[in-house]
């Protein structure tokens, strides 16, 4: 995964744009801050959710954190592997630890996402 080609949010999600679709996960910084992840709760399959709204929660040993939609759209796929192996979010946040696939509703929202260097600035 080329991290420079991804888009990011202030809530520490990454977004990979593939034509009219977007794959979403949480960043390496986010997984490090959360620590050992024990449960990923996403029950928003086939739902249309607006940008900034909650699409799920991620539970770590020490804390629970909401997951926010980076852009508006319909959740068309969730990573079912995380049901049995939530630790993939820790070990491979940009790969097997991806969370949802979205059908993008408004392409203009993509431009408002952060690029790699802007995201790096907020985590340093």
């Amino acid at each position: 995964m080329n991290l420079k080609k991804l888009k990011y949010t202030n809530d520490h999600e990454w977004v990979k744009i593939e034509k009219e679709f977007a794959i979403v996960g949480i960043t390496n910084f986010a997984q490090q801050e959360l620590g050992d992840i024990v449960y990923v709760d996403i029950e928003s399959l086939n739902q249309k959710i607006n940008k900034g709204e909650i699409f799920g929660t991620v539970e770590a040993v020490k804390t629970v954190s909401d997951l926010f939609m980076p852009i508006s759209g319909k959740v068309i796929e969730i990573n079912e592997k995380l049901d049995s192996e939530p630790e993939l979010v820790n070990s491979d946040p940009y790969g097997d630890g991806w969370m949802i696939k979205i059908k993008i509703e408004d392409e203009l929202e993509i431009e408002k996402l952060l690029d790699f260097s802007s995201y790096e600035n907020i985590t340093n």
Binding site: Q32, E33, G35, D36, V38, Y39, D41, T57, E59, V61, K62, V64, P86, E87, N90
Partner: protein
């Protein structure tokens, strides 16, 4: 120099630990992963920097009378070289703090208390000291390194003077390790994995830490943060003051009957003995859940009729078994290990069962 600073803080930061403020100190919560560190202690050996813990020295010819008045265990059973788990209880029997009492020599004791309670404990001691005991708070000059796990004594034996495997549980010696003198080497811990707690002068704390890290390489020793300390103690069902117990809870309610002795007199004894005889209204009980969702402090516990029967005080996923475990207070009349319980976790009721502890 800031007195509320771990001597080995630099090590923790450079090792990449996630640091959190706790009891005025900057403490490592994990270095790599709570689960990895947990399993390292259970199966192997790890080292904790728990220098935030408080240490008081109580001495004087009437110190034994003084300590018997304020602690619930039988202080007369404690001989030189013994340690004893006990509690400071208030007039209502509530647990002001849980602690370990060490008998260093005749009429000289060390009390090891929780960092968050240190000031409160010290005030309590001073308030009840009608025995002219000398009370010294040495917390700011003592570091505490805990070497825990099944390989702890093999590891430390390579650098110790004495054979540490000969020290019985809840006993201690004062000896040197790797030419560092006067270390209290105590066969105690908060993990259930075996091992030692080493009380060392602050000036030697970095030397001792580095030496153990160095010889520990052969044993695959890891530094362990407070996160794994919490999951290790929870698997054993050990109480954490401030989470599971507090000054509104008495030792009988907490299942700590064994540290409250009937044949001695101490502050709070009447309530404690009465609860022992008549059963308390609620009791701290272990439970397991069928889903991997963490029951957190304050979550409500229900019976199968939907009535609230208790509250969670601690919870986690056991790194050893992968099971969801926790502790909570349950109404005494509702305690039934065969029936299902339900814990409300973010608007969903998750099924579980009460469980004896330890969980492993």
């Amino acid at each position: 120099m800031n007195s509320k600073k771990l001597q080995n803080e630099k090590y923790h930061i450079s090792a990449g630990a996630k640091m959190v403020p706790f009891a005025g100190y900057n403490m490592p919560i994990w270095y790599t992963s709570i689960a990895d560190e947990h399993n390292c202690v259970r199966n192997n050996v790890g080292i904790f920097d728990v220098s935030h813990m408080g240490e008081f020295i109580v001495s004087g010819i009437e110190s034994i009378k003084f300590l018997q008045k304020i602690t619930s265990n039988n202080i007369e059973k404690l001989k030189v070289g013994n340690a004893q788990y006990s509690s400071l209880t208030n007039e209502n029997g509530g647990i002001i703090d849980d602690l370990i009492v060490y008998c260093l020599s005749i009429n000289k004791y060390m009390l090891v208390v929780n960092a968050s309670n240190m000031k409160k404990d010290l005030n309590w001691l001073k308030k009840h000291n009608s025995y002219k005991a000398k009370i010294e708070n040495i917390s700011n000059s003592i570091s505490l390194l805990a070497v825990q796990g099944p390989k702890a004594s093999s590891l430390l034996n390579t650098i110790s003077n004495a054979d540490l495997s000969a020290i019985k549980f809840y006993n201690f010696i004062i000896d040197k390790i790797s030419n560092i003198k006067n270390i209290i080497i105590s066969a105690t811990g908060y993990t259930g994995a075996g091992g030692f707690e080493l009380y060392v002068s602050n000036k030697d704390a970095t030397k001792l830490w580095n030496k153990i890290i160095q010889v520990g390489k052969k044993y695959n020793l890891k530094p362990i943060g407070l996160g794994a300390r919490d999951t290790l103690r929870l698997e054993m069902g050990y109480c954490l003051h401030g989470s599971d117990i507090n000054d509104q809870i008495n030792p009988i309610e907490a299942g700590l009957d064994w540290i409250c002795k009937k044949n001695v007199d101490y502050i709070g004894k009447n309530t404690i003995d009465s609860d022992r005889e008549n059963n308390p209204s609620k009791k701290l009980i272990g439970f397991t859940l069928i889903e991997k969702r963490i029951p957190r402090s304050g979550y409500k516990i229900f019976n199968s009729n939907g009535n609230k029967i208790g509250t969670v005080t601690s919870g986690s996923i056991s790194p050893s078994t992968g099971k969801t475990i926790g502790l909570g207070f349950i109404k005494f009349s509702e305690i039934d290990y065969k029936k299902s319980i339900f814990i409300e976790i973010r608007n969903k009721k998750i099924e579980g069962k009460l469980s004896k502890t330890p969980f492993i």
